[in-house]
């Protein structure tokens, strides 16, 4: 069973080495691939010295593209499972086993790690952002028929079907809620597992007030039209 940890990274120079160290320590049998989305900090110079595989996008095209490139790499190199881990240290390497378990045991095609379900520690402080996250989760749950408590989580595990599908069709922009709809709409089985998340080690969220507004608007529109789209098809080859 070949497993790849995919780290889409943009300006994560301060936390990336620690994230990779912890992946190496906790999950020594898992390969790591960093996809740099044209960072403007030292991430770029850091890549060759990290001792892991890396791709560098030559223009800033967004996280969706970084993930698609990583998934195509996984497809080419014959990986069975891809775990998407953020480069800011929010996603502990120790939770990867729990993320992969539903793929192996319950036959799920994709797994999303939820910060909010179960008793796992992390909670967004109550406020407009939490309300927005709840609203999106409720909408996605209603549209997919899968109970989702955290529709904006970036902690994912993909099985072979999801890898083939998303290598060409992974959404862009602020992709996570749309990704849930796409997977469910294409007939793939999505499972949610409660996981513990850390506070980010360094850097700040890329969502400023203006961008948050734009993210909400694009997500809302994407969610409204997604159910009327034709289901996406899996890529055939590697």
């Amino acid at each position: 069973m070949k497993v790849l940890a995919l780290i889409p990274a943009r300006n994560e120079a301060d936390s990336l080495p620690a994230v990779i160290r912890s992946l190496r320590a906790d999950q020594p049998e898992i390969d790591v691939l960093v996809v740099d989305d044209e960072s403007c900090d030292a991430t770029r110079e850091l890549l060759p010295g990290l001792g892991v595989g890396w791709l560098r996008l030559c223009e800033h095209v967004g996280i969706g593209s970084a993930i698609r490139a990583g998934l195509r790499y996984a497809l080419r190199e014959g990986y069975d499972i891809v775990v998407r881990v953020d480069g800011d240290g929010q996603h502990p390497a120790s939770e990867i086993d729990r993320m992969i378990a539903p793929l192996l045991i319950r036959g799920a095609d994709a797994v999303v790690g939820s910060r909010f379900s179960g008793s796992a520690g992390y909670q967004t402080p109550p406020g407009i952002r939490r309300m927005g996250q709840r609203a999106v989760a409720a909408w996605v749950s209603a549209a997919t028929g899968v109970r989702v408590t955290d529709a904006t989580s970036g902690f994912w595990a993909f099985g072979p079907h999801a890898i083939r599908l998303l290598a060409t069709h992974h959404p862009t922009g602020y992709p996570e809620p749309e990704l849930l709809l796409l997977l469910a709409h294409s007939g793939l089985c999505v499972a949610e597992v409660p996981i513990h998340m850390n506070k980010r080690m360094a850097g700040r969220t890329s969502l400023t007030a203006g961008r948050l507004g734009l993210a909400c608007a694009t997500t809302a529109l994407a969610l409204l039209v997604a159910p009327f789209r034709r289901p996406a098809r899996e890529a055939s080859g590697g």
Binding site: L55, R56, L57, E59, V61, G62, G64, A69, Y73, T172
Partner: protein
């Protein structure tokens, strides 16, 4: 419609038509994207040359000042053209994303091949 307005609109729409054709001739505009502008210029030219069409259309639409129909046609074409170009840009955005992704994968393959070469022939 006064003669001056008619002459003005014939000249402007004729000039627009010639401009678009010239842009295509100089390869500044591809044929594919020129059709909508050719259509727009031709429609304006026809409407300004034959007043009757304009008057009938104006009466039919309930517009009191017939030259306003010219504006209406122009606005319609500009709107359709903008929408069309937004679609084109969105398509190009997808193509660029795809190219950037493929380039990153190719670059990784090249590095891999270089390293293999160095491993196999360490001296040369």
């Amino acid at each position: 419609m006064g003669n001056l307005v008619q002459i003005g609109s014939v000249v402007v729409s004729g000039a627009l038509l010639l401009l678009v054709i010239d842009l295509v001739r100089r390869r500044k505009l591809t044929e594919e994207y020129s059709f909508i502008w050719l259509l727009c210029a031709a429609a304006l030219l026809v409407l300004s040359l034959w007043r009757d069409i304009l008057h009938v259309t104006a009466r039919w639409l309930g517009v009191y000042y017939p030259p306003a129909v010219l504006l209406l046609v122009l606005i319609f074409f500009v709107f359709v053209a903008s929408l069309y170009f937004s679609v084109v840009i969105s398509g190009q955005r997808r193509q660029i994303e795809h190219l950037v992704e493929e380039l990153a994968l190719l670059d990784q393959r090249m590095r891999e091949a270089e390293r293999e070469k160095i491993d196999r022939f360490p001296i040369g």
